[in-house]
Symmetry: C2
């Protein structure tokens, strides 16, 4: 082993920024794994000589290394380019309203440790971030690594984010987080870490794009159905955030002009009709109207606190009302998505979030709504499915976010 | 003058394909005009040395030339890169259902001649394309240029297009054009011309992007309101066509679940409520109901053939019913666009097409519909306006289409 392979040999003094062609090369290696210079040149549409220059620079910087032998076409056996696993270490964090998932990985994206905990983001930023920092320090200690070895942190949060500034902007369910300096907080403990913050749905879409069903898709939508409804958009193989960073905010698209009033003040918003809370509300109404013995049973069991979980159980037990609620919710989502399919013409729609597992009827109703109202040409090759990564889309996406921005973000 | 400057000196033997970095450099020169190597490197995020190599290759190929002096920063006065005007000649064509606009330009995009004519695309592909070919040959003769000098043709058509194949696909208003080999037709007369065909709305969006209000916008939507309703999408500074080339087909998004039945079979499609034909239909209904003396006057004047033009005139004369029709149409379009603003978060929406000039009330109703139903953050920086290029967006867009694909399309 050469000296550079020892865990403590690389002392990063500050994050480094690379020019766009090198970043593109790294993203290609990240997406498709180790490959030869020729394959990399083909993937990127660059000349062989340009790739030779780029890869030599990356080797000199200690970011990539040559390993093994690629399949030869008869000539000299080419060697493949790969990330140097111990160039630095990375943390990905999926922060939910009431939970936290965290993974600790090497620079190749290999997960070395993971942790999950229950917390309440409404406790505020300082308290929550302290918990995260302590978890990271524990993991660094377990791996016998100094804090300076951490080169990137990716964080997905359940609120609107100014991506370039790394700040939450007036998050409705995260009091005390508005414009909190998350980057500065982490840089105090981890001076070499580039900190990237993004909305949870974008992060989930990125997880699917790099490590899930999205690997072979250039243009797709990841829809999260939970307390609210939002989507992450992948356009030409990249997360699309829009002009003000709020692209994908589909929860307030009108699903029914005669629908209920939404908390935003408008009438008939999709999330006022089809998200977790209206599903629970309709179930409670059915209980009060004496229309569902099964839902009434759960109503008593949960001390009058029905959620989509109990609606799902009641549906599985054959409750007609529960199935009707699920079908209506899926249908409303499908009808709104149909419009987005006509507009965006993606190759795939993935459904995730807490409500997405409510039952098979949910997905089939979404499909029905999309197929009825979309143009035949735009659904010819359209895959509509639930997330391929279950709860992991967020935390793996956060890891990918960190890995991709370690050389891009100016901090 | 050196020999290369004479009009007939360049005899192209076949279209040439360039690698992506050179094409990107040419697109940047096309978009921002002549500039120094340093400015070009900055625009593209490439190193100075990469740009030096790229520009030398382009000069060697005779595509660009060095001209004039850029503003110096004190050192040697840098020279700027520019297209060689007589590298080749270009035609842009905007084909409508009943009209044709054509421009003939040098390689710098300077228009040397233009022509417009009335025709009927329902006469079929061969007849229409013959007219276009004869117009081009006349123009070449006028300029004393051989047919081999034509290096690119860009064509916008009012129907769905398989962009990569350059074919119309089952166009509803263009019988006889389905899969007609347009490229092969033109290559018979103009053997060196790269022929690029696209949907008219995409072409209009490209016109605005390169030569209109879109120059400073990365993400915007161009909406055409005419017999149908569709939109061209610009995403990250490029036309976005979607997975099957049908992105932007917003005419069949549901605008009102209780609305009229559309020719597509669904209920309440936007174009069944707000396009030219329903505007005319509502006007005729008002005449039959005796609700509008002014519309009745135009009904008699036009021999019972009211269109959006007469509705526009009646509105200008203060007719309440005509104004109501226009307001309802604009409102319905605005409400659908509100959903797309929430999803796509663009910086601009431009409204064009035959109905777009129907009156100020139309644009203000569209604005009202968008602003009421979009999220505040996504409309903070949103410009909503009518096309900046009037009828020219299509034909200038077709010219830009030709200019941008001359080195990209494999034919």
């Amino acid at each position: 082993m050469i000296a550079q392979s020892s865990k403590s040999s690389l002392i990063h003094t500050s994050p480094i920024a690379l020019d766009p062609s090198k970043v593109r090369a790294l993203i290609a290696l990240r997406k498709f794994g180790a490959m030869s210079r020729t394959d990399l040149a083909d993937r990127m549409g660059y000349s062989r000589s340009t790739i030779t220059t780029i890869s030599q620079d990356l080797i000199d910087l200690g970011i990539v290394e040559e390993i093994g032998d690629a399949v030869s076409n008869g000539g000299r056996r080419p060697r493949v380019l790969n990330f140097r696993a111990n160039y630095g270490y990375i943390v990905g964090i999926d922060l939910g309203a009431t939970s936290l998932d965290l993974v600790f990985a090497d620079f190749n994206g290999i997960i070395l440790e993971r942790a999950s905990t229950i917390l309440d983001v409404r406790q505020g930023a300082a308290l929550t971030l302290n918990i995260i920092r302590d978890l990271i320090i524990d993991m660094l200690n377990n791996q016998n690594l100094p804090p300076t070895c951490l080169v990137a942190i990716g964080l997905g949060v359940p609120g609107p984010v100014d991506f370039h500034a790394g700040l939450l902007i007036a998050p409705p369910i995260m009091p005390g987080w508005d414009a909190y300096p998350i980057r500065a907080f982490f840089r105090e403990s981890f001076p070499n870490a580039v900190v990237t913050v993004d909305n949870d749905v974008n992060v989930m879409a990125l997880g699917e794009l790099r490590a899930g069903a999205g690997i072979e898709h250039e243009n797709f939508i990841f829809v999260k159905v939970g307390t609210g409804i939002g989507c992450g958009i992948v356009c030409r193989g990249e997360i699309y955030r829009g002009a003000d960073g709020c692209a994908g905010d589909i929860g307030h698209i009108c699903a029914d002009k005669n629908g209920p009033v939404c908390h935003c003040g408008n009438v008939g918003c999709l999330e006022a009709i089809a998200a977790g809370p209206p599903i629970a509300r309709r179930a409670i109404e059915a209980v009060h109207a004496g229309r569902s013995p099964i839902l009434s049973k759960y109503y008593q069991m949960t001390d009058s606190r029905l959620t989509s979980v109990e609606v799902s159980r009641a549906a599985a037990e054959g409750d007609a009302i529960a199935n009707e609620i699920i079908r209506d919710s899926g249908r409303a989502i499908g009808e709104v998505l149909a419009g987005l399919v006509n507009f965006f013409n993606p190759t795939m729609i993935l459904i995730g979030g807490g409500v997405s597992g409510i039952g098979h009827l949910f997905l089939s109703s979404i499909r029905g709504g999309i197929l009825q109202r979309s143009l035949p040409l735009s659904t010819r090759n359209l895959r509509i499915d639930t997330t391929s990564m279950k709860q992991d889309a967020g935390v793996i996406g956060a890891l990918m976010l960190a890995l991709e921005h370690v050389f891009m973000v100016k901090t």
